[in-house]
């Protein structure tokens, strides 16, 4: 195979029969601005063919080019001694010791999940799984961060059941445990839900696979499912003219096949165990276009793709559809010369399609051939270097006035107020959801949903047979804080993720983010994005918590109404000896209950304010990162020192809610007394001050002494025991009543009349 452009490659591409002319309307339908189209003409030096236009449109879309967010994402810290691969590859990679690496990323599938909840969510999971195993990892855990509209909205119930079934349907069939996540409800998501899926995998740290192509002449191989007309989006309707296919033949919703993905996973890992692979890349958004382009671009090479060789699911498919299809469960591989047969055998054993569809060249051009004709011929470097990048105007959200607890009424009925909070949509048990996810398969799940702040999964010993590590994972964001003040909200999301990892005894190592925002062309939305990034960057830096991968989802709006800004933070940490980890369950009587951290009683933006008084106002709780770190490092030390039997970080709902969650999880009550405090009782018990933990230990005195020595504010509140949650002089409530309220809300809601 020649690496130089052949004669035919030098010819201008032929147009396909009935290919529509590239009118301004066709350009607009492809989402390219007139100015962007001028760049296209500049790069091409001629009018592009429809396929070429489609490729520019895909590569320069917000999704692939990050044109609105790039300048801001640059501000996030991405380095640390343990970071093996930061943002830019399919997923982030960190060193977790014993010759092992953790590979992880989070990705959104918001719009598809709103249109077709089951398939949208399922293919979201499938996509993020491929991002992780394409780098050589075996996925060991999934998490998902879900945001739905208000419960009373007519669509919400249907969306919840479809999304949850879809996430379970895909992950369960793949045999990867779904061990954690978060679920919120808020009116701002009524017309635009958020489905963010995260996968964590493990690989030998010396066997990581990358996308950068190498080796002129090396074969380009297509494996997995056949290509159909899946997910060819609205813009591409321009292509309907040149085939008589009906609209009906152009589903914009992809259907997932988890069975094929499971085969693809096993086949890829089997091939990766050989040394046949030069580079590998999953076909995600913009399918064959972005995958082939990225592989060639990263390798500084060119590529010839013989589109007629692509395995097709349907008749009459054309190059345009083949390049832009988002059919699922497909991978692109550059093999070492001569490795084709070895690879073919493996994929045929797993009953998957395998086809050599092209080869690498040194021309730095992407050349598309179709039955011998050249139908596309694009120079690769300029498409990357001259891609539009926007510094969109932005205005920061001012910090709202601090809400004085004195201006927030006490509950008239403490018992009722706690019941209200424990059964409100955001705090009610999500067991109805995670019981539909296989969270136990693989036999490594040490901390299950609701038993701890982070999920904890055993890491199998490294190649040398050494290690009993645990991998801690969480997903966090408090959108109402971000809405009120993006910088504080961004800081808080990172801090809570770090705190959740810490609360099980693990050392937080790195972050993946999923930035869900509205229309970036509105300065106040761009300001929310900017603010959130500033806050996140500050927190990640202060906590040595680099961002190694992420995803941006913009234009989350309906009728001009944006969602709450939602920078979801996924985080991973490691505990050296999984036997030392603790959950948040209080399982025995006589334990001292100790509160760590300072409480001024911050009610601004609290759930107490929203759920019992219907007010969403005030400045969100500030996050002091030095204190956050000091307190967290102390807690972690106490846990791995085996001096703690249960730990829970305090977040939504504050101290009383955290205490109630610990009691319910472990089935043991507590009796506590309010300590001397500047804060009035409701602010002390429901305030959402940051950097705090509740700990249960059999030696309260020792813990208080250690805390004092470390300069960490600590106070013993009382002891565990009995069937009730008792706050002396304020309330006494049977755990059974609390449990009923906490666990009934979601199932009752899902089973109640539509």
């Amino acid at each position: 195979m020649s690496s130089k452009p052949t004669a035919v490659e030098k010819n201008p591409p032929v147009k396909l029969t009935n290919e529509p002319a590239i009118t301004p309307q066709v350009v607009a339908e492809h989402g390219l601005s007139p100015d962007e189209y001028q760049r296209v003409l500049g790069i091409m030096g001629r009018t592009p063919t429809l396929v070429e236009l489609g490729i520019f449109s895909a590569m320069w879309s917000e999704h692939c080019s990050y044109k609105s967010s790039k300048v801001w994402l640059k501000k996030l810290p991405t380095k640390a001694p343990w970071v093996i691969q930061g943002p830019g590859e399919n997923a982030g990679v960190i060193d977790i010791g014993d010759g092992q690496a953790a590979i992880f990323k989070m990705e959104s599938h918001n719009h598809p999940s709103y249109i077709e909840p089951y398939q949208g969510a399922a293919t979201g999971v499938g996509g993020i799984l491929r991002d992780v195993f394409t780098m050589g990892a075996r996925p060991v855990a999934n998490l998902n961060a879900l945001r739905f509209g208000e419960p009373q909205h007519p669509k919400t119930r249907h969306l919840v059941s479809g999304v949850v079934a879809g996430i379970g349907g895909y992950g369960n069939c793949m045999g990867i445990p779904t061990v954690g996540g978060e679920t919120n409800f808020h009116a701002s998501y009524n017309g635009n839900i958020l489905v963010n899926a995260m996968t964590v995998g493990i690989a030998p740290s010396n066997r990581i696979f990358y996308a950068a192509a190498a080796g002129v002449g090396n074969p380009l191989v297509y494996v997995g499912s056949k290509t159909g007309r899946d997910g060819i989006h609205g813009a591409t309707m321009a292509s309907t003219e040149f085939s008589e296919d009906s609209e009906e033949k152009r589903p914009t919703v992809q259907v997932g096949d988890p069975f094929v993905e499971k085969l693809l996973l096993e086949a890829c890992l089997e091939l990766m165990a050989t040394d046949a692979i030069v580079a590998i890349q999953d076909m995600g958004a913009a399918g064959l276009t972005s995958s082939s382009f990225e592989m060639a671009a990263k390798g500084g090479l060119g590529v010839v793709v013989e589109l007629d060789k692509v395995p097709m699911r349907e008749t009459g498919m054309n190059p345009y559809e083949l390049m832009l299809s988002e059919s699922q469960e497909r991978m692109l591989i550059v093999l070492k010369p001569g490795a084709e047969e070895l690879a073919r055998k493996i994929f045929e054993k797993w009953e998957l399609d395998f086809a050599v569809i092209g080869h690498l060249t040194d021309t730095q051009r992407m050349v598309l051939s179709w039955h011998g004709d050249i139908v596309g011929n694009i120079p690769i470097p300029p498409l990357v270097t001259e891609a539009p990048v926007y510094e969109r105007p932005w205005t920061l959200t001012p910090l709202p006035a601090v809400l004085d607890a004195a201006n927030v009424p006490m509950p008239k009925d403490w018992r009722a107020s706690l019941i209200t909070l424990m059964s409100c949509p955001d705090l009610a048990s999500k067991a109805w959801i995670w019981h539909q996810y296989d969270h136990l398969i693989m036999g490594n799940t040490a901390i299950r949903p609701q038993d701890g702040d982070a999920a904890l999964v055993r890491v199998p010993p490294g190649a040398n047979g050494v290690g009993h590590k645990g991998l801690a994972m969480t997903s966090d964001c408090t959108p109402r804080y971000v809405q009120a003040h993006p910088e504080t909200g961004g800081r808080q999301a990172v801090a809570e993720a770090w705190r959740n990892i810490t609360a099980v005894g693990a050392t937080p190592l790195a972050v993946t983010d999923n930035m869900n925002f509205g229309n970036p062309q509105k300065p106040e939305i761009m300001g929310q994005f900017a603010g959130a990034i500033m806050g996140m960057a500050e927190a990640c830096t202060a906590l040595d918590f680099p961002v190694v991968s992420g995803n941006v989802s913009l234009y989350n709006e309906t009728e001009g109404k944006p969602i709450l800004p939602t920078p979801t933070i996924g985080a991973v940490g490691v505990i050296e000896d999984i036997g030392h980890a603790v959950g948040s369950r209080i399982t025995q009587a006589g334990l001292a209950i100790v509160l760590l951290g300072e409480t001024v009683g911050w009610l601004g933006q609290s759930l107490y304010l929203r759920e019992t008084l219907g007010r969403e106002e005030g400045a969100p709780p500030p996050v002091d990162l030095l204190i956050e770190r000091r307190n967290g490092d102390f807690v972690r030390g106490e846990i791995v020192g085996r001096r703690i039997s249960a730990c829970h970080d305090l977040s939504d709902g504050g101290l009383l809610v955290g205490l109630a969650e610990m009691c319910l999880a472990g089935g043991t009550g507590v009796t506590v007394t309010l300590p001397e405090s500047i804060a009035p009782p409701h602010a002390f018990l429901y305030g959402e001050d940051q950097g705090r933990y509740l700990l249960a230990t059999d030696d309260g005195g020792a813990l208080l002494a250690a805390a004092q020595a470390a300069g960490v504010p600590a106070v013993q509140l009382g002891y565990s025991g009995g069937p009730d949650l008792i706050v002396q002089g304020l309330l006494s409530i049977a755990l059974s009543d609390l449990r009923a309220a906490h666990e009934a809300w979601l199932p009752d809601y899902m089973n109640s009349a539509a």
Partner: protein, 229 residues
């Protein structure tokens, strides 16, 4: 005890059960690919959980027709013990090795949770380490574990003591509260007539270590080792 574990395209708990068996025997079981109609002699055949062939038509229907299952039937007929877990149970039922069928869960949802099981008999290779009436805690993880058989079949298997486990409440009461999927008469596991084949929906292989779901499932494998070595 030499054990062989079948692997179908889409199997996914074969590793879990292999780990459990290695834990009690100290040796790795042999893994048998679905295409292999022939494999070396073993003391135990395990049909593991998962989504064989995607489980797209009826759970287990396609796997039941595979070459390896033809061989398993042959050996089962010769008395080679077969342990069929979850999807394995569905496959064995479809293959006619066990009575009854497994239908969609009554609530139509996939369910992953710890359940309590009442041991119906200790008189079998699989349950000899348990006491009759003992209550154990192990997880389930399935969408189609709703056991069904017609009255005649039910009467027959109950008369012959072919029910191995029933779902129950933590205190052992066998009623609706402990039933995760609507199984008729709370049946969670059954034997063939000679009690050499057992199928069950729950996953004892995921309850063999204290930190990872408890150890109530371990005795099942220890019992097999005792009986088969």
């Amino acid at each position: 005890m030499k054990a062989a574990i079948l692997v179908f395209p889409g199997s996914n708990r074969e590793v879990d059960v292999a780990q459990a068996i290695e834990l009690v025997t100290g040796r790795k079981p042999q893994m048998i690919w679905h295409g292999d109609g022939d494999f070396e002699k073993t003391d135990l055949i395990v049909v593991p959980g998962g989504f064989s062939y995607g489980d797209y038509l009826r759970c287990g229907a396609m796997a039941a027709q595979s070459p390896v299952m033809a061989e398993v039937k042959r050996r089962a007929a010769q008395g080679v013990p077969v342990l069929a877990i979850c999807n394995g149970f569905q496959i064995a039922a479809e293959a006619g090795l066990l009575p009854g069928v497994l239908m969609r869960n009554a609530h139509l949802k996939f369910v992953c949770a710890d359940v309590h099981l009442k041991v119906e008999t200790s008189q079998s290779l699989f349950t000899n380490r348990y006491q009759e009436g003992q209550v154990i805690r192990v997880p389930v993880a399935h969408a189609e574990g709703n056991y069904f058989a017609d009255e005649a079949t039910l009467k027959r298997i109950e008369d012959r003591g072919q029910v191995a486990f029933r779902y129950c409440a933590p205190d052992g009461t066998v009623d609706g509260t402990g039933n995760p999927n609507g199984s008729i008469r709370n049946i969670a596991g059954v034997f063939n007539e000679s009690k050499t084949v057992m199928g069950l929906m729950p996953h004892p292989e995921n309850a063999v270590e204290p930190m990872f779901g408890g150890t109530d499932g371990k005795a099942l494998f220890e019992g097999l080792v005792e009986a088969l070595t």
